[in-house]
């Protein structure tokens, strides 16, 4: 099968879905068409892809393949380059992106959502949740700017992202306190004395923009120079912290009422090389399973992540 490996939008994303190292198995029976410059953000040259047996081609050519692989969801211009009836394998989060779901239908593109690929225990196979928490916390300590071992860090949430933050903060020997469900509803009690407050909560869509755990007025309870770190992004850009808005890698933080705010969309982009390695190792075997089987005989775990375009 012809597989297209697309370049991610360089302004927001340095990573790439597959490295040359993981292509061996795949290229035995398939051809990979890599968009020119796809790996440059993490230091992989086109020549390295060629050496591994892939073809380096134009954007249009990569998107014309019957199967297109990309880390982040494509935009409309890119979707238009895909052929009707072809398949897109990327992060999709369609529940949060109704417009993308409509476009996929309009252009009759099948899609397999990377975030929905689960192992037999129901755990995501393609993910970098830990890294998101880890790098968000590391950056938070850096933005705070003093000796990390003097910081008191409080963390809301205890999922995989929050654990990345716990690990980073503990490695830096900060004092780490977790806030449970009762405590996050009484933040006025817990903000005094906090140097860095970490939001690792998955904030449900119905609460976004309606309920705030940390209100604007509460900011003055924090120490001057304190930092608020949002680890979990959502497309609405609404967080449990009223004054928080999404930031980017190139413009990572802003100050409001003397308190540092940072909620980067894609924290793990701070370590693109290692995260690319991780993704590539996770993606390659799943991709092998996708191309090995006929479209209507896909393994169950892939079928569950697939959305077919109606003819």
């Amino acid at each position: 099968m012809k597989i297209g490996l697309a370049l991610d939008d360089r302004r927001k994303e340095k990573r790439v879905a597959l490295r040359p190292e993981e292509l061996g198995e795949l290229l035995k029976k398939n051809q990979l068409y890599v968009e020119r410059g796809a790996g440059l953000g993490v230091g992989i040259t086109d020549a390295e892809y060629r050496q591994a047996g892939a073809h380096v081609v134009s954007k249009a050519h990569a998107y014309a393949c019957p199967l297109v692989v990309k880390l982040r969801e494509p935009n409309e211009t890119e979707l238009k380059m895909m052929r009707p009836g072809s398949t897109l394998f990327s992060m999709l989060h369609l529940n949060n992106r109704l417009n993308l779901a409509r476009l996929l239908q309009r252009y009759r593109i099948n899609s397999i959502a990377m975030e929905k690929i689960k192992d037999p225990l129901g755990e995501r196979i393609i993910e970098d949740l830990h890294e998101v928490g880890y790098w968000g916390m590391m950056k938070g300590l850096e933005l705070w700017g003093r000796n990390p071992s003097k910081a008191t860090v409080k963390i809301m949430g205890c999922g995989r992202i929050a654990f990345g933050a716990i690990q980073a903060a503990s490695r830096k020997q900060t004092r780490v306190i977790l806030l449970n469900k009762r405590e996050i509803n009484e933040m006025y009690k817990h903000l005094p004395g906090t140097d860095i407050l970490v939001d690792g909560l998955t904030w449900p869509a119905e609460l976004r923009g309606k309920i705030y755990l940390v209100t604007r007025r509460m900011l003055r309870l924090m120490r001057p120079g304190a930092a608020l770190i949002g680890l979990v992004s959502n497309p609405a850009g609404k967080y449990p912290i009223e004054t928080m808005r999404p930031t980017t890698l190139s413009d990572i933080s802003y100050k409001m009422n003397g308190v540092i705010h940072a909620a980067c969309w894609g924290w793990s982009g701070l370590d693109p090389v290692n995260v690319t390695r991780r993704y590539s190792i996770q993606i390659a075997p799943v991709l092998s399973d996708i191309v090995k089987s006929a479209p209507d005989h896909l393994p169950e775990y892939i079928k569950q992540a697939m959305l077919e375009a109606k003819p």
């Binding site: 205890c158 780490v176 306190i177 469900k181």
Partner: protein, 318 residues
């Protein structure tokens, strides 16, 4: 290939490595022998294995298979039942078990220690590490006996085992603080006011050290309120635990009280939640057993081949 599913050693180990639901995909291509009563500890009857296409067999038959699978390592008499050249899949921790290695070498066994099987990112595939933390934490709350949401819990360590404990404590609305290296040297400051102190520190076991320096000394017990709990999740041998007064405990007697403080350090916490952990292992194991049975060990995925110890042809761990 003939596959033997062995029973664990009762009465204290109730789990079983593979459940009928996961064996179904094996039985149409392979002969699967299940030891009589293997699933009884987690409520699975022999009849359920039969319905899934397995053959119920006595111990000798099961251990005579080409591939023998179980959770914990077999005892000496069981090793003698294995046929030379057979493959054994179980937890082994051969580095800590020279006797087991010697027996397996004598019997010419190809060992596939489950703890050695890692995915391409280096993570164990057959594991219940976070479960260890959460089961232990649950048990500590039970010993403490009061409303968990009133508990002040401090957790030493922040690895995978600690994660399970942290999550359980936060979900039960306890106040949770993580202690790291900087705090360990001044435990006298951090113990007062703590209701449950959890040790989840992964310290390498140093065989040649008679007694490790503890972080929490016997003298510090009096800083805790009577009825407080000390929980050890990592099963340190005696004199090697960061808590000086901690000794490994077993399912028969999971805790003891010293100076009014509960001590618990179960060797194998997952055994306390046999049914769920057993199911987890079964889901993790099925694809591995299928791969070996279908393709043979030499063509099995890299994750399995990397784990193999050819005790039958000269390879040694110690």
């Amino acid at each position: 290939m003939r596959i033997g599913i062995a029973a664990e050693n009762r009465p204290l180990e109730k789990r079983v490595i593979l459940h009928p639901e996961e064996l179904k995909s094996l039985t149409h291509r392979h002969q699967v022998l299940v030891e009589e009563g293997a699933g009884l500890g987690v409520g699975i009857l022999d009849a359920e294995y039969s319905v899934a296409g397995c053959i119920i067999a006595p111990k000798e038959k099961v251990y005579g298979a080409d591939l023998v699978v179980r959770i914990k390592e077999p005892v000496a008499e069981e090793v003698r039942l294995l046929k030379p050249g057979a493959i054994l899949m179980s937890m082994m921790h051969l580095r800590c078990a020279p006797g087991l290695e010697k027996n397996l070498v004598r019997q010419k066994i190809i060992a596939v220690p489950l703890e050695n099987i890692k995915d391409p990112l280096g993570r164990r595939i057959v594991e219940a590490v976070q479960q260890t933390g959460s089961i232990g934490m649950d048990y500590a709350f039970k010993l403490w006996g009061k409303d968990p949401s009133r508990a002040k819990v401090k957790i030493m360590g922040y690895g995978n085992v600690a994660q399970g404990a942290i999550r359980t404590a936060v979900e039960k609305l306890a106040s949770v603080e993580i202690l790291n290296r900087r705090h360990f040297s001044r435990m006298d400051r951090h113990i007062p006011g703590t209701d449950i102190l959890v040790d989840a520190v992964n310290r390498p076991y140093r065989r040649n050290v008679a007694k490790e320096t503890p972080f929490m000394t016997a003298g510090m017990l009096k800083l805790m309120k009577p009825g407080s709990v000390l929980l050890d999740l990592v099963a340190n041998p005696e004199y090697h635990a960061p808590i000086e007064t901690m000794k490994p405990t077993h399912m028969k007697d999971p805790y003891y009280i010293l100076d009014g403080i509960y001590h618990t350090a179960l060797w194998g916490w997952p055994a306390m939640d046999a049914i769920n952990v057993s199911k987890r292992y079964s889901l993790q194991m099925a694809p591995l057993v299928r791969a070996i049975a279908d393709k043979g060990l030499d063509k099995a995925p890299l994750s399995i081949r990397n784990a193999v110890v050819r005790l039958d042809s000269g390879e040694r761990v110690i």
